[in-house]
């Protein structure tokens, strides 16, 4: 399908003909009998994988199949934060790749993903956190990730509504990433989907995978609610349901699925033009373009597939943030929702070959999925196309658990991964 580009001229042209000429952003075809690559999961990661398979590796006989609707899982349920200030080298590399791809993603996809590099602060509210974040700054400088340490008065300049004096948790400084920020999460999924569809890929929604067909340890295809589909390679990119798909393919993953929640307040006038994370008190907050304060906290601790989190987390996180941001104490909370995140033991993702030949997994992004979408797709596309991981994915293989070679971000990333 030839893509009609979005532009100023297109807006002007459509304005003159009652906007009758806008096309569907992507096609909804019936599945073909066979594809070179079938990607399960049309969220950000799955669609980005498909996009870079086509763009970088020239593989376009691809289907992205989705149980629900496109971008309806964690892609549409996160707090849209983008950052790459990680401690470990492999994490910094893949998250910084993602962040740098976000910089010109709108131009690349010809779709406005509203990337807003408004700056991101991680508050240090204890001596330990201060030392930890200073260490991260030094590590980031060596990794080529631009972050710096700022003082409490600089924090106050950037975030006038923050209470830096405590009493319980005074702000001692912050890890500041100027080019961190947010993007419009739905638009990321829609933009990738539109670009994939334009390359001739099939995005098949409301098509649940019910089984994985293998022969002699090699994948043959998948069974779905829309019939059987043959494939050369299979990429499982389903976040919270990774264990369920792995079970169908006959192996187990070092993953547990848990609920993570976010919530927004009623919209108020602009009061905070950066993203602030307060990991000691377990919360993070930004202001959406609509004016809502977008708040997130920690995950629940137990296995859960219901996309509903426990209420006490909402209360605990909001209560904690009120100490740091007294201004929000009178705000009414408007909406709350949950997503199912796939947690690994070291809180780092898995991009890997699997025990089944030609089956690849991209999962374990846990609470840090949205920010990594372009980098994850880039690395996963390389893995699927070549059959071997490239430099970005090499350290994130399943074999790291057997070898005890963890990429430990559970401490470095704090709560809000």
């Amino acid at each position: 399908m030839a893509l009609r580009r979005y532009s100023m001229f297109a807006v002007a042209r459509e304005a003159l003909r009652f906007h009758a000429g806008w096309e569907r952003a992507w096609q909804s075809p019936a599945p073909k009998k066979r594809y070179d690559v079938v990607i399960v999961g049309a969220g950000g990661h799955g669609l980005a994988t498909a996009y870079y398979l086509g763009k970088v590796h020239g593989i376009t006989n691809v289907a992205v199949i989705e149980k629900g609707w496109l971008g309806g899982g964690n892609t549409g349920r996160n707090t849209t934060i983008i950052r790459s200030n990680y401690l470990q080298d492999p994490s910094a590399a893949i998250y910084e790749k993602a962040r740098s791809l976000y910089e010109d993603l709108s131009q690349d996809l010809n779709y406005n993903v509203m990337f807003s590099p408004r700056g991101l602060l991680m508050l240090a509210q204890s001596e330990h956190e201060m030392r930890g974040y200073k260490r991260t700054v030094y590590a980031n400088n060596l990794q080529g990730v631009e972050t710096r340490w700022i003082t409490p008065s600089e924090v106050k300049d950037l975030v006038p509504i923050v209470n830096i004096d405590g009493p319980r948790y005074p702000v001692l400084g912050a890890l500041y990433q100027e080019r961190g920020g947010t993007a419009r999460h739905d638009a990321v999924a829609w933009g990738y989907a539109r670009a994939c569809s334009a390359m001739g890929m099939d995005i098949i929604q409301q098509c649940e995978v019910t089984g994985v067909r293998t022969a002699n340890g090699k994948v043959q295809g998948v069974e779905t609610t829309k019939g059987s589909i043959d494939c050369g390679k299979l990429a499982i990119v389903v976040a919270g349901h990774s264990s369920v798909l792995a079970e169908m393919a006959g192996f187990r993953l070092p993953i547990e699925s848990m609920a993570l929640q976010a919530w927004v307040s009623e919209p108020i006038k602009p009061c905070m033009d950066v993203v602030v994370m307060a990991n000691l008190v377990h919360g993070y907050m930004s202001q959406s373009d609509k004016g809502e304060m977008v708040i997130g906290g920690g995950t629940d601790g137990f296995n859960n597939y219901t996309q509903r989190g426990s209420w006490h987390h909402v209360e605990e996180t909001t209560r904690a943030l009120i100490e740091t941001f007294p201004i929000i104490s009178r705000l009414k909370m408007l909406r709350q929702w949950g997503g199912i995140v796939d947690m690994t033991g070291d809180r780092s993702p898995i991009l890997s070959k699997t025990p089944v030949e030609n089956v690849f997994v991209n999962c374990g992004w846990g609470t840090g999925g949205f920010k990594s979408i372009p980098g994850s797709g880039w690395a996963m596309a390389e893995l699927v196309a070549k059959g071997e991981p490239g430099p970005l994915a090499a350290d994130f293989g399943l074999n790291r658990f057997k070898e005890g070679r963890f990429i430990d971000e559970s401490v470095a990333a704090g709560v809000a991964h």
């Binding site: 264990s243 993953l253 070092p254 601790g301 597939y305 209420w311």
Partner: protein, 107 residues
């Protein structure tokens, strides 16, 4: 809010009084085991969408570990039982069989 009954105290408490401890009935492998077995014991998890046997600790109560059977797709709790066992009690399995005829067993 999730509520569970502590089999030692006999009280039904909210999750804020409890600490979750992950999958129950893991077969332990230690020194002398193969790398595969040890890796499986440490990391590989069933993480089922459905009936899940799991460990909980009555952290702000008696402090003891106990086990629970719970559905991760609906949050329905089938029952709890003391941790001094290698398999779930027969009556609990019978109860789950009745409610979830196709659940596929606890192993």
């Amino acid at each position: 809010m999730l509520t569970l009954t502590c089999p030692y105290c006999g009280v039904t408490v909210e999750e804020t009084e409890l600490a979750p401890g992950g999958e129950a009935h893991l077969k332990r492998f230690g020194p002398g085991a193969s790398d595969e077995d040890f890796e499986g014991y440490l990391f590989a998890r069933k993480n089922p969408k459905g009936v899940h046997f799991e460990r909980w600790r009555h952290a702000y109560g008696c402090g003891k570990w106990f086990l629970a059977a719970r559905c991760t797709a609906t949050l329905e709790v089938f029952g709890t039982y003391p941790a001094q066992t290698t398999e779930p009690p027969a009556e609990l399995i019978a109860k789950i069989n009745e409610k979830r005829p196709n659940w596929g067993g606890w192993k």
